[in-house]
Amino acid sequence: MSTRDTELPAAPTKSFEWGPFLRTNGGLVALAVILIFNILVTPNFLQMQTLFVNISQVATIAIVAMGMTLVIATGGIDLSVGAIMALSGALAPLIFLSEFGQAYPALGITAAILVPLIAAMACGLFNGILVANLKVQPIIATLILFISGRGIAQVLTNGNLQTFSNPSFSYLGTGKVLGLPFQGWLALGIACVLFLVMTRTTFGRYVLAIGGNERAAELSGGPVKRVKIGVYMICGVLSGLAGLIVVAINSASDAARNGNLMELDAIAAAVVGGALLQGGRAPIFGAIIGAVIIQLVKYTLLANGVEDEVALIAKAIIILAAVYVQQARKE
């Protein structure tokens, strides 16, 4: 399930043992159980429509969760992802609805995508500098933007809901490629790139080394500060992208709601996917599996008429179970 586990040669097993299997593949097993449950119980589950709805919703969680996974791999955490989504989501319509954006639609759209992403990356840079250079604990460092990032978005839009009709921008959230949502492919593409980065590049190796033992990584010549700033910037830019997708899906930007509680979903997805909170592991595809599990649980409960509130409790139980299994594996 994790990138590091897959590289281990398979130990010769005489008889199949369920315990270790469940511990290393818990995410996949949970996914299978939910799928089987849905196929048996949920009406109309095996339909294209279901797949489409779930993919279009899970993509944003998955994209943010991958960024979160990288941050967690260095032993950090990023609480500001939801606020960054709100900020980037608020910027985009401001740009393509401006006079400039109306006058030059093509340029306007390009700017409406690039500028929010750059702003999101700048937020990541801010977090990264606080964590890497000023040695502020990640929870606190990212708490600053968590609190004020959404406020900035609301100040920018005066707290108003910005609605728009702009098909080319909306493609981000409603477009189809091979009959499936564009953002699903986007998430998959990002996952492949990040997977290669983590397994094949020096940057990826340093990310894991820093999470494993920061002092040792530094004394072995690792560029600790740059790598840390790098992961927060990647997490920032991915959050910004997710914010744009949410706005594109709704054809409206609501700074108060865009990305609300996303930090929890993203952390939950990363942890369910096998990320260790103390750092040192970065299961990229695990984050996607985690995001899918969380989305499917939500969907299952809703589709079977269970209230939204109960879904929160279910999510709580999933998180606890995932981390408990993780702890058991360590000992």
């Binding site: 590091r4 590289e7 281990l8 040669p9 094949r200 590049t201 020096t202 940057f203 190796r205 340093y206 894991l208 080394a209 494993g212 033992n213 002092r215 040792a216 990584a217 530094e218 004394l219 072995s220 010549g221 690792g222 560029p223 040192g280 592991r281």
Partner: protein
């Protein structure tokens, strides 16, 4: 002889791997009892079973004439067993008083802590140790040596019948050691028993009455220390014949090689200062040369290493690398200048426990293994396979997490990490600390071989025979300054000790 503690037939296994099998320990009242053995011999496990940290799988423990029912560290304290663990078990952020009194504070009305009384008692206890400090200050603001003595003060203040000291002198200097020995002796005179675990065998002859030797989870020997030699003890720990060892010399360095032609200058430090702990440090290191740094704890040896490796900023002076200037200002710069630095603290600054042997071994080499940001994985495997074979690293395969290796093998992987970058200069800070005797000799052989290939080595070691036999030249430091230089051949442990004693005299 009456016994205070009798442990016999103790078995303990972790995840199916036996750590102790039939181990025993027998301590009389009012004796100082040494416990020795290589790393992994089972000393720490045995102690942790006695103090209730681990539960034994089998065997009996009798303490004070009755079957022991200790099941937690707290229970051990209440039964009269106080322990000073190797890793300081104190809380640096809290005050000295809290660290001494924690859990046993004097109370008013049975609930509220009487701080005034607590401070007074703490001062009183510390005065017995010859320490006069502000007991309200956070413990972390004092030196490691003082912290160590505070830990001992806490143990002693608990009115223990048995005090266990696990490597108590590893961070003390000579004068502090003598204070500690004074305390140990006064404990013995008061009828308290002391279980003394130490890698420094010389100490044992000074204060211990009997010595128990462990090997591979078993107790192999228990004898009076009078009439025993250091060689006997080493032989017992290794399970070898004393005569064999004498012939091989005490270390793998063997006879010194000072008559070999020195190569080009690799590194030149002039007037280097990084603060009060290192001032005016000069050194010239040639190819194929080992320079030893002599001195006691806090003399500035590690500081010199850190300055050269670009960890600490230079306040003054300059370091010339290969004759063309520019001191490295970060570890990364030092590595690209051809330096390697094996740190003193393997756990905190060396290994990345969850990473594989392969990833640990190539960590410093990464920049050279990288093309366009990508790691050349085939070459990486090649390099790792080469070093596992060349250094005889015992690992299931190169993907095994390094935390699962023994201390000695971890150290070899870290050595390989630096050998792999093909260094010009190797800084080795306590390269054989905390590894068993066998691995120690292998590591010494590796160092000797790379010096033969032209590497210049800066060697820091608290084991005198290591620098006496290994170094071409010893720079003796005291309080951050160079006191004298000794040149081989001609250095003996005796001359080094005398040089140190001289500095002690001057300092006083």
């Amino acid at each position: 002889m009456a016994t205070l503690l009798n442990m016999s037939g103790i078995d303990k296994a972790f995840a199916g791997v036996s750590a102790l099998s039939g181990a025993s320990l027998d301590i009389a009242p009012g004796e100082v009892h040494a416990l020795i053995g290589q790393n992994g011999a089972g000393k720490s496990t045995l102690i942790k079973i006695l103090t209730g940290v681990y539960r034994r799988d089998g065997g009996t423990v009798q303490f004070n004439g009755a079957d022991s029912v200790i099941s937690s560290p707290r229970g051990a304290q209440e039964a009269g067993i106080a322990t000073i663990y190797q890793e300081l078990n104190l809380v640096p952020l809290r005050s000295v008083t809290e660290n001494v009194m924690m859990g046993y504070e004097p109370k008013r009305f049975g609930v509220l802590i009487n701080w005034k009384e607590a401070h007074r008692r703490t001062r009183e206890i510390l005065t017995q140790f010859g320490i006069d400090i502000d007991v309200r200050a956070p413990l972390g603001s004092f030196s490691t040596a003082i912290q160590q003595l505070v830990a001992i003060a806490r143990a002693v203040s608990l009115d223990a019948r048995l005090v266990i000291m696990d490597e108590p002198t590893s961070s003390l200097d000579a004068s502090e050691v003598s204070v500690l020995f004074g305390v140990v002796k006064s404990l013995r005179d008061a009828g308290v028993s002391v279980l003394y675990v130490s890698h420094f065998l010389d100490e044992l002859f000074e204060i211990c009455d009997r010595v128990t030797t462990m090997r591979d989870g078993r107790t192999v020997d228990c004898r009076d220390i009078a009439g025993t030699t250091k060689l006997d003890l080493i032989a017992g720990m290794l399970g070898r014949d004393p005569d064999d060892i004498e012939q091989a010399g005490m270390t793998e360095f063997g006879a010194s090689s000072a008559d070999v032609d020195k190569g080009a200058v690799l590194l030149k430090a002039e007037g280097v200062s990084t603060g009060p702990r290192l001032t005016g440090f000069d050194m010239v290191l040639h190819r194929g040369e080992i320079i030893g740094l002599g001195g006691l704890l806090g003399a500035g040896r590690t500081e010199a290493a850190r300055a050269i490796f670009g960890v600490d900023r230079l306040v003054q002076g300059q370091i010339d690398v290969n004759g063309f200037g520019a001191a490295p200002d970060t570890p990364a710069a030092a590595i690209s200048a051809g330096f390697g630095y094996l740190t003193e603290d393997r756990k905190a600054e060396g290994i990345i426990p969850d990473m594989s042997v392969r990833e640990n071994l190539t960590l410093a080499l990464l920049p050279k293994l990288t093309k366009n940001g990508q790691i050349d994985r085939a070459r990486e495997r090649e390099v790792v396979a080469h070093y596992i074979k060349a250094l005889g690293i015992k690992t299931a395969n190169m993907e095994q997490p390094i935390r699962e290796l023994s201390g000695g093998n971890q150290q070899k992987v870290l050595l390989a990490r630096w050998l792999a970058i093909d260094p010009d200069v190797l800084i080795l800070d306590e390269p054989t600390r905390g590894v068993d005797v066998g691995a120690k000799r292998e590591i010494q052989a590796i160092i000797r071989d790379s010096v033969a290939k032209g590497v210049g080595v800066l060697l820091i070691s608290s084991e005198f025979e290591e620098i006496v036999e290994g170094a071409d030249k010893i720079i003796v430091l005291n309080e951050g300054r160079i006191i004298t230089e000794l040149t081989n051949p001609g250095i003996t442990e005796d001359t080094l000790v005398r040089a140190l004693a001289q500095t002690e005299g001057q300092a006083a």
